[in-house]
């Protein structure tokens, strides 16, 4: 190891690392510091306030509502989008009629901007005018304001998220399925194993690493997707569809309360760190047999 070569290596790393530190590591640490500070005002600089921001977070009913919404959103989108993705991949990977078209239909939502498709879905859900209403009306169902009603708004935006994500996750399952030797299926057929048995005993264990990879991505996305909330509901009605990142956006850039916004960011960072730790220490060990 000579010094010149080492210096060369550091020089090549420097630009990328400097940017990563400036926009990932530094802001993560600064957020933690700021969460213990007050929000600076023109005539009053930021001062240390201890846990005050966290205290106001605990007293903030909208925060709890956003957290609850986000958990429901995650609990619904993760299994639905991953399950559908697996079904799609199995279908498209088989000898099904028109599978090229099927694959295209499933994957298309992935390449469309969320902001654009949210506008289309907004129209879809429009009371007494949108497609959903027309189909419902055809079957004699009463008119319903899907996004305006507190009891259906969160489910409505969850559907959009599942629709957007499933095709993306399908790709990873498809890649994994194509790596599985066809002779396994032939062997299973000779042994007289049924389809379900083959799936449960052969495919599912072989797909486990992919499932874990997809699950981790699905969890991260569940706390990161907000574009459709901005377009479709703005967190309403009555905060029924406010998610954590959306609440953070409102606190940070509508109410300009930086101290409190930092405290919410810390909660989000903590959630993602927990996901990372579970992945490293629990799931990665289970993926190998």
């Amino acid at each position: 190891m000579n010094a010149g070569r080492q210096a060369h290596a550091y020089l090549m790393l420097l630009p990328a690392l400097a940017l990563l530190v400036a926009f990932t590591h530094y802001p993560a640490v600064a957020t933690l510091v700021d969460s213990f500070m007050s929000t600076p005002k023109p005539n009053r600089p930021s001062v240390f306030v201890g846990l005050e921001n966290y205290a106001s977070m605990i007293d903030d009913p909208i925060f709890w509502q956003a957290l609850r919404n986000n958990l429901w959103f995650a609990l619904a989108t993760i299994p639905l989008s991953v399950g559908l993705a697996l079904a799609m991949a199995l279908w498209v990977n088989g000898k099904m009629m028109g599978r090229g078209l099927l694959r295209m239909a499933y994957f298309t939502p992935t390449v469309l901007p969320m902001i654009a498709v949210a506008n289309i879905w907004l129209f879809f859900y429009t009371p007494s005018y949108g497609l959903l209403e027309q189909v419902g009306g055809f079957f004699g169902l009463p008119s319903h304001n899907w996004l305006g009603d507190k009891s259906t708004a969160l489910a409505s935006i969850t559907a959009v998220a599942v629709w957007k994500e499933a095709g993306f996750f399908m790709i990873f399952y498809l890649a994994a399925l194509q790596g599985i030797s066809p002779s396994l299926r032939e062997a299973a057929a000779i042994e007289g194993a049924g389809r379900w048995f083959f799936f449960r005993r052969v495919l599912w264990p072989l797909l486990m690493p992919t499932t874990i990879f997809v699950l981790v991505n699905a969890v991260i996305n569940a706390f990161r997707m907000v574009d459709h909330v901005v377009v479709m509901t703005r967190g309403g009605p009555d905060n029924a569809t406010s998610l954590l990142l959306y609440h953070l956006y409102e606190v940070g850039f509508k109410f300009w309360d930086q101290g409190y916004a930092a405290a919410i960011t810390v909660v989000l960072l903590g959630t993602l760190a927990a996901v990372a730790l579970v992945q490293f220490f629990v799931l990665d060990k289970k993926a190998h047999y």
Partner: protein, 274 residues
């Protein structure tokens, strides 16, 4: 015999289910196409004889500076992609070809960004941008994404799989370290570069929240933010025009996807497996 019978029955059920799901998945897009290409009185009425029109696109194009938004997004996506390719190639090469102190720690630091994306740190990054005077500039929107942990990780994996013999042969011929990178590593990693480029372009073409926060004028607004401003303030509820604008925004990626479908799917696969 009964085994084969139940297999084919299951096959039919599968096929029907797969197609129903596909129709459901493509329906919103078809609906948008219908609405955008017909006069507004047909936007929710489906008759075969409805006249086709391009008027909605014309009106949308004139009602907001979409030409400027297109330019901004194109510049932004190009800027981000070029920086990512250069910076991440250099970093990945350093991790693969060099031995230096703190290598593993530095690589672990890089991987942190896979979990904590700039999207979530928007309050702090906004402060940094305003200190740097980069609010409302394309450079400011792109800067946090110039170094991508994902690209470094992907390229490092690829570079590692390149046979040592090729590198040794080039060294024997007297090629310098940079020449080896440029003549051996980069050409052999081409499929991975294409894959990453497609993933990066579609991500940043569609990115919304961070650009929404750092921009506040037509000069730097990308398409996604422009569309949102347009749809929420200017239009009331003329769905035909909003849908036309929506399709305009999505059109370049959508057309590219329909034309190079196989390439797209394979790229996303390749980026995902590594």
């Amino acid at each position: 015999m009964s085994q084969a019978g139940s297999q084919s029955a299951a096959g039919i059920v599968d096929t029907v289910a797969a197609w129903l799901l596909a129709i459901l998945w493509i329906l919103p897009l078809l609906y948008a196409v219908w609405t955008a290409f017909h006069p507004s009185e047909y936007s929710a009425k489906f008759t075969l004889l409805a006249p086709l029109t391009l008027e909605n696109f014309e009106r949308a194009w004139q009602a907001a500076p979409f030409a400027r938004y297109f330019l901004n997004t194109t510049l932004l996506v190009t800027l981000i992609l070029c920086s990512q390719l250069v910076l991440c190639t250099l970093a990945a090469y350093a991790f693969v070809r060099y031995e230096f102190r703190g290598k593993n720690v530095l690589f672990a630091l890089v991987l942190v960004q896979l979990m904590i994306m700039p999207d979530i740190l928007l309050v702090e990054n906004y402060k940094t941008m305003s200190k740097l005077g980069l609010i409302d500039t394309l450079f400011g929107i792109g800067l946090p994404y110039f170094a991508s942990a994902f690209a470094i990780f992907l390229l490092r994996q690829t570079f590692k799989s390149i046979p040592k013999e090729l590198v040794e042969a080039a060294t024997m011929e007297g090629a310098s370290s940079m020449q080896i990178l440029w003549r051996v590593y980069v050409p052999l990693a081409k499929p991975v570069y294409v894959a990453f480029a497609l993933v990066s372009v579609s991500y940043h073409w569609n990115n919304f929240l961070w650009p929404l926060v750092v921009t506040n004028s037509v000069n730097s607004r990308p398409l996604t933010v422009g569309l949102q401003v347009f749809a929420s303030t200017d239009q009331g509820i003329d769905w035909s025009i909003i849908t036309a604008a929506t399709l305009l925004t999505a059109a370049p990626l959508l057309l590219a996807f329909l034309l190079f479908q196989r390439q797209f799917v394979q790229s996303f696969m390749r980026a995902g497996i590594k």
